[in-house]
């Protein structure tokens, strides 16, 4: 839970958050049990108003630069403004792994 907590803290520090969910999806990939390598982040903030998705994701990667350098391998990002979030309804699900030991 250490890395998950540090992701949550770094994002809280960097953004004025409307809603945030950080999920550890490492169990969907070929890593040892209880790993913290694959995460899914849903972040709602009005700081994203008028920004394209690529700029929003770059902002998040910047806030999480330390985590990305230290063991986080994949980050699924779903970013919304408060208005977009109200219309979105449901966050898309991440794909399962295709590499390593979980390869089909």
């Amino acid at each position: 839970m250490v890395i998950q907590k540090s992701i949550e803290k770094a994002l809280s520090d960097a953004f004025d958050i409307g809603y945030m969910a950080v999920e550890n999806e490492s169990h969907m990939h070929s890593v040892p049990p209880n790993s913290e390598t694959h995460f899914k982040v849903t972040l709602v903030t009005d700081e994203f108003v008028g920004q394209r998705q690529v700029a929003r994701h770059q902002k998040i990667y910047k806030a999480l630069a330390e985590q990305m350098r230290n063991g986080v391998h994949a980050l699924a990002l779903h970013t919304y403004t408060v208005e977009e979030w109200q219309q979105a309804g449901k966050v898309p699900s991440s794909p399962n792994c295709m590499g390593g030991s979980k390869k089909q």
Binding site: Q53, V54, M68, A74, C97, K103
Partner: protein, 109 residues
């Protein structure tokens, strides 16, 4: 040629290029697979680089693009995004328009 120059020329000389894990026929990662699927459904040709075969490109591109993960899609020299953005744009129809337009300008130039 140094790696950054190689990356720049790949991005500039290909209207649509995907940096991915594995190949379109044999993707090595679920995120790359999903991105390739969306791109193929656009029905246009695209270039790809398998970053698993090119560890130097893999490391340097992360820095160059300020984007630490793969896949990464570039259209007309600009970073469009990774799997989540590609999927969202495909679902909304934006990706199809962007790709067709990019390939169209490429053929005319």
């Amino acid at each position: 040629m140094d790696i950054i120059e190689t990356i720049k020329s790949q991005i500039e000389n290909n209207g649509v290029i995907l940096y991915m894990k594995g190949t379109p026929q044999a993707p090595q990662c679920g995120f790359s697979a999903r991105s390739v699927q969306a791109l193929m459904a656009c029905g246009e040709r695209f270039a790809f680089v398998n970053i698993l075969d090119n560890p130097e490109i893999r490391e340097q591109l992360k820095v160059y693009s300020n984007w630490p993960t793969f896949p990464q899609l570039y259209v007309k020299g600009e970073l469009v995004g990774g799997c989540d953005i590609i999927t969202e744009m495909f679902d909304s129809g934006e990706l199809q328009t962007l790709i067709k337009e990019a390939v169209g300008t490429e053929q005319n130039s």
